[in-house]
Symmetry: C2
Subunit: 403 residues, 2 copies
């Protein structure tokens, strides 16, 4: 039979996949062992409490193995949902019932379920410029119309949001605003309190639900914690969190907190994605978390990441001062570089990998509006502290050769 | 603030969620401890090789814990994809490269990725009448137009398929045909070889890719294995399998095998669902599988399920003969009852749970065309063998009280 005939017809949404395809191809190159990579946003495995994870796994499999290996409820393991409700109270001072919580297969599944429940082709969503590239991909998968709101060193700009909302008008407001208020991916910046209040007020006024991605918020290296948007506006904020940065990504677990009706709808969406998140993973995380493992891990991880951040900032200062600008993140995994005017970050990245064996993520995939050539994301979370100076030195060579 | 205002606007696809909502509500009732439930399609945890799973978990965490708990490649753990390719060769005599395999978070995620890649709102998909209810839900989530093809005791009827395809014409053929050829959920029936060949020929002729769901095929209790549709038509069949019935559902792992271009697109879809399936789960399954665990589990599980099937069929024969008809599955988890003409299976189910403490799944959610009141699905996989006689006795009381 003719293989060509069997190129199946693809849905139109796949036409928006070229960005994700390009990023995937470049990320594959960064995995060469001789490359010092500031690219991937992976946690440092040295922060994992492996012995305690293994103890929890042993306890779960030896006492509840049959249940842990079978299907579980679509909304998630009830004891884990209770633990999440307690954390939301302790961390965020947000009071939730377990029926306002859905356990998901990571933060991205939470976002994809929200997109499934709220978005049709053509629905308008608002995002930061820049914003998390996988979130942009989720919205592209939904064939949403993505509008960008400028982000500066204090986070998303309320004036820019207001202008956009006024321009759209009140008749058919955007379906959602997606935000990472603390230590944003990719810029590392944190939305300050005044802007949190203004953005919430604007969204409440225009009737735009906020999807708050809390992914990095527990990893603060300096400064005082800020209230989550969920705390400022419990009714209007759909809160997403992940266990990837407070436990480990390898279990693919996260959660969404929203009103009970929406959670009920999201659970029906989940019947059409994976039916339930890993039962084994949920029970292991619950055992680990309920014995204080997550608190201990966060306590141990913060100084590890702070040291790496400080090392990166010191080397940037020492080697790149005056040539590029960068953000100073108070937490999270990322520093955002503003390259010299006229830079082409995608071209620079190719040269960086091939000629200088150093990698980052070019700025462009973080913008829904085609900008980003003058930016680059550096992640300091995964690479070894002792490689940071040499990595920045290689970045310096890349920039020296530019133009 | 007014909570009512914050009932977010839902996407139109959620209008198709009433079936899933009703099934979810009824399934919750079946979990009462005094109910003998033929409802859920869960594997028997007695078939899990818990000690060996624990050994594998220990080995993975103690030797590769940092990697096992971190993110992994979106396409899946390479060694697991190699193992899958070997199984596809050994089990199905299908030769695949690892780049024709994507590891997914269960069979349902595989199907949802295929739907994401292939379907737009209004796309036509073909399914059996009856068919797996979660698959119907996936297609409803995609806002596909679902057309049904009659299934009888030999599986899907090629004549009915041909009539439908002729009616649709060749200009805009259906985007896919979804099939569970072996021990179908819910009917338990197996598509015979002659029909496999005819259905493949028809789909090849009309240019309709087949999505073959292989979920139960390794659990055959009698009769000779049949070639998978993937073997009969490698280019045109998108093959989906799950670890839920050959290992355990609690790790949420499965795979899809298709052409490399489609797998590449499915992997991009997966960046928008969960980025990667559980790394820990994949490494544990690979360790377990590569030491012969899955072969051993299948060998041990078959007699367990065969005994339960035989017990259920014997009790149906003893207690319900002449009052209902049923299928005789050669494998899998399900027996399909045809109730007396004029039955209302949803009403019967409510009475069964409330008055007789026995549960099944009503036939209706397995039909996309609104039929099914005269059918019920009995699952024999999860309940205890010693409860089967009493369960059928309660079913007998339900039927005796009918009308």
């Amino acid at each position: 039979m003719d293989k060509e005939k069997w190129a199946v017809r693809l849905a139109r949404r796949t036409e928006g996949f070229h960005v994700a395809r390009a990023v995937t191809q470049v990320l594959a190159l960064t995995e060469r062992p001789d490359v010092i990579s500031f690219a991937g946003g992976l946690p440092d495995p040295g922060t994992f409490l492996l012995d305690r994870v293994e103890e929890s796994t042993h306890r779960v499999l030896s006492t509840r193995g049959g249940e842990a290996l079978n299907y579980g409820p679509t909304r998630g393991y009830l004891h884990l949902r209770h633990w999440i409700a307690e954390q939301m109270r302790d961390w965020e001072r947000v009071e939730l019932d377990p029926d306002e919580i859905l356990v998901t297969s990571g933060g991205i599944e939470a976002l994809s379920l929200v997109a499934m429940a709220l978005l049709e082709p053509g629905s308008t969503v608002l995002v930061g410029a820049p914003s998390y590239l996988a979130a942009l991909h989720v919205f592209r998968c939904s064939q949403a119309e993505i509008l960008s709101v400028e982000v500066d060193s204090r986070g998303m700009k309320p004036d820019a949001l207001q202008d956009l909302l006024e321009g759209i008008g009140r008749g058919d407001p955007p379906r959602l605003l997606y935000l990472i208020p603390s230590f944003q991916n990719p810029s590392g910046v944190t939305l300050d309190l005044e802007r949190r209040r203004r953005i919430v007020a604007l969204c409440a006024d225009y009737g735009v639900p906020i999807v708050e991605d809390h992914a990095y918020a527990n990893l603060r290296y300096q400064g005082a914690p800020l209230p989550s948007l969920k705390r400022l506006w419990p009714e209007g904020v759909i809160f997403i969190h992940t266990f990837s940065k407070i436990f480990a990504p390898g279990v693919r677990l996260g959660w969404v907190a929203a009103g009970p009706d929406l959670v009920s709808t999201l659970a029906l969406c989940k019947i059409g994605t994976d039916q339930c998140s890993s039962t084994l993973g949920q029970r292991v995380v619950h055992d680990f978390a309920s014995r204080g493992g997550i608190d201990e891990q966060i306590r141990r991880a913060i100084p590890v990441y702070r040291r790496k951040r400080d090392a990166l900032l010191a080397e940037l200062n020492r080697q790149l001062s005056g040539r590029v600008e960068w953000t100073v993140p108070e937490g999270g995994f990322y520093v955002w570089l503003r390259l010299p005017p006229g830079s082409n970050s995608e071209q620079l990245l190719r040269e960086a990998i091939e000629a200088h064996r150093v990698a980052f993520v070019a700025g462009t995939p973080f913008f829904a509006d085609g900008r980003g050539q003058e930016f680059a994301r550096l992640s300091f979370s995964f690479l070894r502290e002792e490689d940071i100076a040499e990595g920045v030195s290689r970045l310096s060579s890349v920039l020296a050769n530019q133009g």
